[in-house]
Amino acid sequence: MSVPAIAVKNLVKTFGDSTVLNGIDLDIAQGQVSCVIGPSGSGKSTLLRCMAFLEESTKGTIAINGEVLGFAENAKGVRERLPAAANRRIRAQIGMVFQQFNLWPHMTALGNVSEALKTVHKINRKDAEERAMAQLAKVGLGGRANHYPSQLSGGQQQRVAIARALALNPKIMLFDEPTSSLDPELTGEVLNVMRDLAAEGMTMVVVSHEIGFAATVGQQIIFLDHGKVLFTGPPQEVFKRPRNPRLEQFLDTYIDRGASMLL
């Protein structure tokens, strides 16, 4: 048995008075595509952000390929913040794609993708830009390398964001509602890139409302409600034969809107 790509143990996250994550235990296996679904406010994005250490957990641990990220917790529950440099190193195995794309507006597409290669990995300009170009071509945007984000459509911006994350050869890719900010006709181009990525064997965790994508590409579906994992399983079990009443209720809203693949 290989070590899980991401191991979440007893994860709790509170913001002031409200508890958003209420004790999550979860394993993401190597090469697996996991889709996190659930109603709004269930804590899906928070879970993803905790995995990336963009949010600090209140209790519990996250381990990336066996190494604990962010906070270490001993058996007595005593927490210790791990050193920033170690966290940066472990986090380098993760690439993240955001709902708002978060491309840097003062750099071109090429600039965005090559920035970390140049600044963090000290790769010389020419090589960095070559690698960046290759990544951009892979997501179908080789011809737009010198465009600024403001000159790109939403779908194109998101694909540049994916290229930017992939350029650093991550072992795990996290997607936080990658198509939620896009016009409907632009979601396809992004989902296709994600589909190709999954086919290549990338370990992915995707938070999304795109049930069709989850049903066809997902291998493990995680249903989150009120900060707890209510159900996990392969798409067949989750969608075609939901055994959890809350899950059924949640999926019904999709069937009402015509998600026929669930019937």
């Binding site: 990336a52 963009l54 940066r88 986090r91 380098a92 993760i94 690439g95 993240m96 955001f98 708002q100 978060n102 491309l103 840097w104 507006p105 003062h106 750099m107 071109t108 920035e115 970390a116 600044t119 963090v120 990995h121 600024y148 984000p149 403001s150 964001a161 930017r164 994350a165 650093l168």
Partner: protein
């Protein structure tokens, strides 16, 4: 009103523009230091920074100029009045520019910083490559605005004896008994200068690639 008088006004306006521009640049340099003090989050630096901004925004510029003009000789620093004037203007604009910079940094969308963290940039690298360039672009309109305010405020250095546009207008109005024409002309020159600055500022702003929306 003769063209000779207008020429004299125009010549004096060169002092106005020069003094203003020098003060803005020096003020910007001081503002960066003060902003750094505020961002450092060390009480030792934050408090003096806040007091600096509060004082130079709370006291009228005229009083600041009089204070510096009269204070420097008393503590033994003897400088030409033009230096005192520039020091006064610089300190005043520094306080406002520091506030503008603070606002600019606060307006950098946090998502842009997060994506930088995710690709591995260290905090210093994030500041240099992401935060500072974007904050400066966001602050630029306020900077142009401040330039126009300083150009107008420079009229006050006339009270410490600098012969810039307003002083020249006062002297000419007094000797020719044509206050309406003289002051109106001076006003027009100020308008023209401000209009040019606003225009130039707009052009430069449009040429800067990408401000986040």
């Amino acid at each position: 009103m003769s063209t000779k008088l207008f020429e004299l006004l125009l010549q004096a306006s060169i002092y106005t523009v020069t003094i203003s521009m020098v003060s803005i640049l020096i003020g910007f340099a001081i503002a960066i230091i003060v902003s750094a003090m505020l961002l450092s989050r060390q009480r030792l630096f934050v408090l003096p920074g806040q007091i600096f901004i509060s004082f130079f925004r709370g006291v009228p510029l005229l009083v600041q100029l009089l204070l510096i003009y009269n204070l420097l000789p008393v503590i033994g620093i003897n400088v030409p009045s033009i230096v005192a004037a520039i020091v006064g203007l610089s300190l005043c604009t520094a306080a406002y520019q520091a506030e503008n910079l603070r606002g600019g940094f606060a307006s950098v969308p946090s998502g842009l910083v997060e994506s930088a963290e995710m690709v591995g940039l260290t905090p210093i690298q994030i500041f240099r490559r992401i935060k500072a360039p974007i904050a400066l672009r966001l602050t630029f309109p306020a900077l142009v605005n401040e330039a126009i305010l300083i150009l107008k405020a420079s009229s006050l250095v006339s009270v410490v004896g600098i012969v810039e546009l307003t002083r020249m207008a006062q002297d000419l109005a007094g000797s020719t008994f044509l206050p309406l024409e003289i002051f109106a002309s001076a006003g027009l020159i100020y308008l023209a200068i401000n209009w040019i600055v606003a225009l130039a500022g707009g052009l430069i702003e449009r040429s800067l690639p990408g401000v986040p929306r």
